[in-house]
Amino acid sequence: MTTRADTRGRDTLGRPPLVLVVPGAVAAALLVVPLVSLVLDTPWGSFLSLLRTQAVLDALRITALASAVTVLACLLLGTPLAWLLARVDFRGRALLRAAVAVPLVLPPVVAGVALVSALGRNGLVGSVLRDTTGVTLPYTTTAVVIAHTFVSMPFYVLSVEGALRASGERYDVVAATLGADRWTTFRRVTLPLAMPGVLAGSVLAWARSLGEFGATITFAGNYPGTTQTMPTLIYQELQSDPEVARTLSMILMVVSVAVLAALRNRWLTTP
């Protein structure tokens, strides 16, 4: 990918200064060393046999399901929200944008408490739901998905909103002058231009969902086969057998790196 202009520029610019190289190397070491230690510490002998146990298969299934549905929910609900925030002028837009970003800085356990107070069986919305339909959300896989979506959606919305704003409104205006209505413009012009943001946001949301722990265990609980995800299983095993917990962490890491690697090519080659 290196062009001639790049190489020439590099010669003129000189060697990278130590003041940038040293902190950069420290940052890289901080990120890489713990992961390498985890790989080295993993009892690989028990890796495959552990992978086949019912508890791990259940947790992997719930994690995969929850993260996939979370990305879907982000695409279907988060994209319109990002579009509203980027393109429509309405009162309280700045406030709404701030509110959307709050789950980013909220400790996940607090997110779980917030979800309980809204959707728990005695919650603001949850009690109405229970009285009218008899449905209670906590302790269900649906609750896991809701918790994951709550913590992941901000990543998606901010990423897509950024992309929408970066691509600007000019193309929308051109499409409109050529006779396209707003929905057609969104479908044919706005969304394709924002695609890198949509993909990046999806990957971010998916990754956040994969590691989600605090909100899930607080709101949805922890039961094998219905609400137990890989991170909750890892935390639980950490209490009894750190070796198993380490192997489980490895499984989660291998799976996520594999999916990321598979997505990466597509993602990076898209304009």
């Binding site: 980013l104 800085v105 265990i217 950490l238 209490q239």
Partner: protein, 255 residues
């Protein structure tokens, strides 16, 4: 794109700085003492050990007792990993054994605990005796069986031939209690001491065969202690009549 990121960035900065500011305030208050011991205690000891630590500080002017409460397994692991602490008290003998390499002396049993069933104060599911948790539609929670409280709950469920399944397996007993006090569960398996601590927020029912599954609490000073004398004195306080009285007031049984 840059200006659009300012708001989330500013918010995240506020989020990062606030907890730091809070920490700073807390540290300043206890900074005057020159000697410190750190006690690692099982979560169920929170109330009693907080009181005993205050007593200990009163008896030993200039000594600051720091307390860390967590699940026994987590604390035992921290002790083995060399956490800067002086005393370890766990909620079962098994986790204490797992920390054997970090113990300065043989652990001594100082309390026992039994398991009870608690329901929210207004008892939404109408539970009048233990076997009612078998009724369909009753949502109950217990600890996961990798935690000591979960081992006892699982044993009691099998002793009593419970046929229904818990809605959730919580990682520690405080989470079980929280699910019940917040009325998100109809019943929960907690220790007698948790039921005492929750006061009139919960109704307490005894569990048949609970006396067959008593948990014993051991305490021991740690090898990494830099104040081994004070550490032993804290252990002695817990074992003293005064300490035992405080434990019994909190619902613990005698060792």
């Amino acid at each position: 794109m840059k200006p659009k990121l300012t708001l989330p960035l500013a918010l995240s900065l506020v989020g990062l700085v606030l907890p730091l500011a809070a920490c700073g305030g807390g540290d300043g208050a206890s900074g005057s003492s020159d000697r410190t011991i750190t006690v690692l205690g099982a979560a169920s000891l929170t109330g009693t050990f907080t009181d005993l630590a205050a007593q200990f500080e009163k008896d030993h002017p200039g000594v600051d007792v720091k307390l860390a409460f967590d699940s026994s397994a987590t604390l035992a692991q921290q002790a083995v990993d060399g956490a800067p602490a002086d005393v370890l008290a766990t909620a079962d003998t098994e986790t204490m054994d797992s920390a054997k390499s970090a113990l300065a002396n043989a652990p001594q049993d100082f309390a026992t605990n039994t398991m009870v069933l608690v329901t929210p104060k207004d008892d939404p599911a109408g539970i009048s005796r233990f076997s009612d948790i078998n009724r369909s539609g009753v949502t109950y929670v217990a600890c996961v069986d990798t935690a000591p409280c979960g081992k006892v709950a699982a044993a009691l469920m099998s002793d009593n031939k419970v046929t229904s399944k818990p809605a959730s397996l919580e990682v520690d007993v405080k989470s079980v209690l929280a699910k019940v006090t917040s009325n998100e569960a109809d019943a929960g398996f907690v220790y007698a001491t948790d039921a005492v601590a929750a006061g009139d927020q919960v109704r307490t029912l005894s569990i048949p065969h609970a006396t067959d599954e008593i948990t014993t609490y051991p305490i021991a000073p740690l090898t990494q202690s830099k104040e081994s004398g004070l550490a032993q004195q804290f252990v002695d306080l817990v074992l003293s009549d005064q300490g035992q009285q405080a434990l019994q007031d909190a619902g613990f049984g005698k060792p």
